[in-house]
Symmetry: C2
Subunit: 159 residues, 2 copies
Amino acid sequence: MAMQKKQQNFRQHLVRSGLKATRQRELIARAFFATNTHISAEALYRRVSGRDRRIGLVTVYRTLKLLKEAGLAHERQFGEGRALFEHASSERHHDHMICTHCGKIVEFENCEIEALQEEVARKLGFTIQYHKLELYGRCKECRADASGGTGRIRVVGAR
Amino acid sequence: MAMQKKQQNFRQHLVRSGLKATRQRELIARAFFATNTHISAEALYRRVSGRDRRIGLVTVYRTLKLLKEAGLAHERQFGEGRALFEHASSERHHDHMICTHCGKIVEFENCEIEALQEEVARKLGFTIQYHKLELYGRCKECRADASGGTGRIRVVGAR
DNA sequence: ATTGAAAGTGAAAGTGATTGTCAGTATCAT
DNA sequence: ATGATACTGACAATCACTTTCACTTTCAAT
Ligand SMILES: [Mn+2]
Ligand SMILES: [Mn+2]
Ligand SMILES: [Zn+2]
Ligand SMILES: [Zn+2]
């Protein structure tokens, strides 16, 4: 989905919810849509702050909340510390592998795991609403040596 | 592993680390080993507090940290809010399914999922150090109806 | 049993990410 | 243009811990 389209969606959500389209919200949403990483509220604030010094961190938090409500952003909590936000829009569900050394975040999808999760839940008498699967370890670069192959990966992370 | 044995292990860890065996640590560890749930520091504090009013919440936190270092406790962070602790000792690795309605926690093991995780990591060029798999949904009781079967489950949760 | 260096304790203050409050400001349907 | 309603930023508050600090307790060496 193009940035323009996302911005449009956001405005629609605001109108439908009886909210107002403010200069701050425009700026923050634009800056968010311009990213393609997992970004913290603080980091997004720093970016927006560069364009307009008068914007507050609090408003960034509030706008990210609105973006979540609009279904345009996902909030992730990797380990402890600050939350990271990423685009939700059209992208399919995915899980994350995080390097404990350099913080690199790699996204992956695995239908087999998803199917097995459903099976586990069914056996336990549960209905899954959502899940959290995070693999933590060392990436190729963060091990002294070098070896192993890859597939279709997206390296997407920034604090 | 029996409670006595665990208490013994804890004392050994203290001695090896040049730490002291205090009345408070004995009491807190005993109370922890007496649980078989996922328990918060606060909840454990309330239990110990019943036996000895003079013990502080801070010391409970400190002792839980020691128990982790001794390899006798695991700390879990389900969703947001306070951490829950459980015995580590002999029990094998397991993951969790959590009811978003009543908070019930059910443990499960699934070798196939574990194997697939390793495969994913290998393809991405990572070496897994640890992982987090949590399924969130509604349990049988928390859906209006009743149906479905189970396997070997342990329902283990308490805040 | 005594001693004293090192570690431990509880109370209270601090932390850090996020959320709530509030008085002044901006938006937008009319 | 206008006014009801929503929004904003600064600041305070929250929440789950963690740190600090002025005493206590432990325990190896007497
Ligand atoms: Mn992602
Ligand atoms: Mn468990
Ligand atoms: Zn790395
Ligand atoms: Zn339930």
